[in-house]
């Protein structure tokens, strides 16, 4: 192979590397803060139905809903002592997440939106969406909740 070809090939590789990869996320508001989660972890976004609360309050655990006959627990991973869902409005949605196989749960959120983000817009789990800092959820945030559950 000629040297020029090698140089040319390398430059093509370099160019490819420099093109920022884009990933698809669901961006949403949760307790007035903004978050995003990889779309692969989101099962669906449904209308906020009546949540059946547990008989006794437990930090981080709100209640359950029936999603087409499947019972889904609704969780609260942020400052769980505050229970923000006392008044669910028309604007609320339930984000159904499956962080690993078999562990499916819902979060009561607002303004869910599909966004495509370039990797260069992600810095230390903070996404830049429209000039606003958005916390990226990786799934680890829910580990404690899972540990405290059955």
């Amino acid at each position: 192979m000629h040297l020029s070809n090698i140089i040319s090939q390398q430059s093509i590789d370099l160019d490819t590397r420099d093109i920022p990869k884009s990933e698809v996320y669901i961006h949403f508001f949760y307790k007035e803060s903004q978050y995003a989660i990889e779309i692969s972890q989101v099962c669906e976004v449904v209308e906020a139905k009546n949540i059946t609360p547990y008989p006794q309050k437990r930090n981080g655990h709100i209640g359950v809903i029936s999603l087409r006959g499947q019972i889904i627990p609704i969780m609260d991973f942020l400052e769980p002592s505050k229970r923000p869902i006392n008044a669910i409005s028309k604007d609320h949605r339930i984000l159904i997440i499956e962080v690993d196989q078999g562990f499916m749960f819902g979060l009561v959120i607002k303004k869910a939106k599909r966004v495509e983000i370039n990797s260069c817009d992600i810095n230390d789990a903070i996404l830049n969406i429209g000039g606003h800092p958005v916390q990226l959820l990786t799934g680890d945030e829910f580990d404690n909740l899972r540990a405290s559950a059955v």
Partner: protein
């Protein structure tokens, strides 16, 4: 007949052994790249240990020996995971291949020998190692013709398919409930003619009955008596006694109790482990028993019964019991974290910790500490729980509490505050619609006068945190359910009864917090979920609750 049972057990063992080996191969896949090497190695170890135990029962000595050697080798890597490299994995795989080959040769041998062995007097499973060529000529056509009719009567259906059938049936049931609810609501507003509504009601009742029948049939497809499992355990004890100086009688009760096959199948391994432990560590040597005034022959009792929505299997022995303090000391010595262990039950539960064993010597029967860990894993997977009752010098009872399976249960729907709860009718001794005036207070507690008998009572809305929970305290009309809690009557006060119906109980999903008194969850006719309460467990929870309230004093005095 005896040979039929043995054959059944052998077939069950072979099926499980195949699954075990598959599981071991799966654990090898991507082992070096995985971040749970320790758990994977534990799983491989457990699989090999189970295989060893089973092959020992059926006197498959070559298989047992190979499994024992592999188990010993695996022990070297427990705690030394760094030593496991590709070469080690390859070697281990070869060892497992050998196990698989040995198992296959047993299967081939067994298939070819068929009933010939039974006619020759069933010389024991070790005879199965005879090569197939030796037996080809011996297997007569009689045995094949005897087997054929049995096969023609049965169809093997994958459990998953039956499960799917059941799921769809329950969904139809729920849809029917919702349709009924819709029509009833419409009829209240007189939008539907009475004549139409009556005709529809007749058809609907018929539909409901048929769905319940269908549900029961589907459920019964999966139900199997525990007899086969118990017989297998009996054989385990017989085999043990034939090579031990200990004498043990096995007493069976409730063999006809039926359980979901899937759950029952998953019980074989934990049961074997528990029985082995009872034989090895529970029941004493005959001379030791005599020295403490016991019969020289020990007893292992296997009991099965249904309690509410649970099937309970008890494995008890009349041996030396378990010393909880010795368990704690042993756990500390082994470096286990015991900082949160306080009560006796917590000390006893340490025997389920991975790697824990009080045995000083490793034996074929038990003693590597893998068994009890596996027991808990199996029972947890089956959605059950295990409790231990023990008395030093008298014996130990392990109780496995297992779900019977999904089912339609008759239940009352109660309102407490703004929430609805289901209560299985089998939990309820009596119900009363009363007024607040029928409740009296005594020493700050509540008592209800039931036919002249003052019974302690609890207001559910005091215990639950739901909104609007003060309602039954101010409402003149209340609904009272009486249940037996620890053998004593306890009255539970709800605001009202909403319906007397049938519910489909679904297990609580992963991610729900642990409430001991929740039996599951159901979907009401409105499509909303409602939790199913176990009044018995709720009563215990209230009694054990540290939350000081008026009812507690009454309950304490009552009990």
């Amino acid at each position: 007949m005896e040979m039929d049972t043995d054959e059944e057990l052998l077939v069950a063992f072979i099926e499980e052994a195949k699954e075990n080996i598959e599981g071991i191969y799966e654990a090898f896949e991507g082992f070096l790249e995985s971040d749970n090497k320790s758990e994977r190695l534990d799983a491989i170890y457990r699989g090999v240990h189970t295989l060893k135990g089973g092959s020992a029962i059926f006197k498959m000595n070559a298989l047992k020996e190979e499994a024992h050697q592999l188990e010993t080798r695996l022990t070297e890597y427990k705690g030394n995971l760094d030593l496991v490299d590709q070469q080690v994995l390859d070697d281990l795989r070869i060892e497992v291949d050998k196990l698989e080959d040995l198992l296959q040769s047993q299967i081939d041998g067994d298939r070819n020998q068929g009933e010939v062995e039974s006619e020759q007097g069933a010389k024991g499973a070790s005879a199965n190692t005879t090569s197939p060529s030796d037996t080809d000529n011996k297997s007569g056509s009689t045995s094949q013709t005897e087997r054929k009719p049995k096969n023609q009567e049965m169809i093997r259906v994958p459990v998953d398919r039956i499960q799917k059938n059941h799921d769809i049936t329950t969904e139809i049931f729920l849809i029917r409930n919702q349709i009924a609810h819709l029509l009833e609501e419409e009829s209240k507003s007189s939008k539907i003619r009475d004549e139409f509504f009556m005709q529809w009601e007749v058809l609907d009742n018929s539909l409901r009955q048929r769905i319940v029948e269908l549900e029961n049939i589907v459920l019964s497809m999966r139900m199997t008596p525990v007899k086969s499992l118990f017989t297998r355990m009996e054989k385990t004890v017989r085999t043990y006694c034939s090579s031990s100086s200990k004498k043990i009688d096995v007493n069976l009760a409730g063999s006809e109790t039926e359980m979901d096959k899937k759950i029952l199948d998953s019980l074989a391994d934990p049961m074997i482990h528990l029985i082995r432990n009872a034989m090895d560590h529970g029941v004493e040597q005959p001379e030791d028993r005599v020295a403490v005034g016991k019969e020289s022959t020990g007893n292992i009792n296997l009991t099965a019964y249904i309690a509410g929505n649970e099937a309970v299997i008890e494995i008890s022995d009349d041996g030396k019991g378990i010393d909880a303090k010795a368990i704690l000391a042993s756990a500390e010595k082994k470096g286990l974290d015991v900082s949160r262990v306080n009560s006796e039950q917590e000390m006893l539960q340490l025997i389920f910790a991975p790697g824990f064993s009080t045995a000083e010597q490793v034996s074929d029967v038990s003693g590597r500490g893998v068994g009890m860990d596996a027991v808990k894993t199996y029972i947890d997977k089956a959605g059950g729980k295990i409790t231990i009752d023990t008395e030093i010098g008298s014996g130990t009872t392990f109780s496995l509490h297992l779900p019977i399976g999904l089912s339609v249960i008759p239940a009352l729907i109660l309102r407490v505050g703004d929430q609805l709860y289901g209560v299985p009718t089998h939990d309820i001794v009596a119900t009363y619609t009363m007024t607040k005036k029928d409740i009296s207070t005594n020493r700050d507690g509540f008592l209800v006068n039931l036919l002249g008998e003052f019974t302690p009572c609890v207001f559910l809305n005091d215990f639950f945190d739901n909104d609007d929970c003060a309602s039954s305290h101010v409402s003149s009309s209340i609904f009272v359910c009486v249940a037996n809690v620890n053998g004593r009557k306890l009255a539970f006060v709800a605001d009202s009864i909403e319906a007397n119906t049938e519910l489909i109980v679904k297990p609580l999903p992963t991610g729900c917090p642990d409430f001991s008194y929740l039996n599951g969850v159901s979907i009401l006719a409105t499509g909303e979920p409602a939790f199913i309460l176990s009044l018995d467990k709720l009563g215990i929870d209230i009694i054990e609750s540290k939350k000081p309230n008026a009812q507690m004093e009454v309950l304490d005095h009552a009990s």
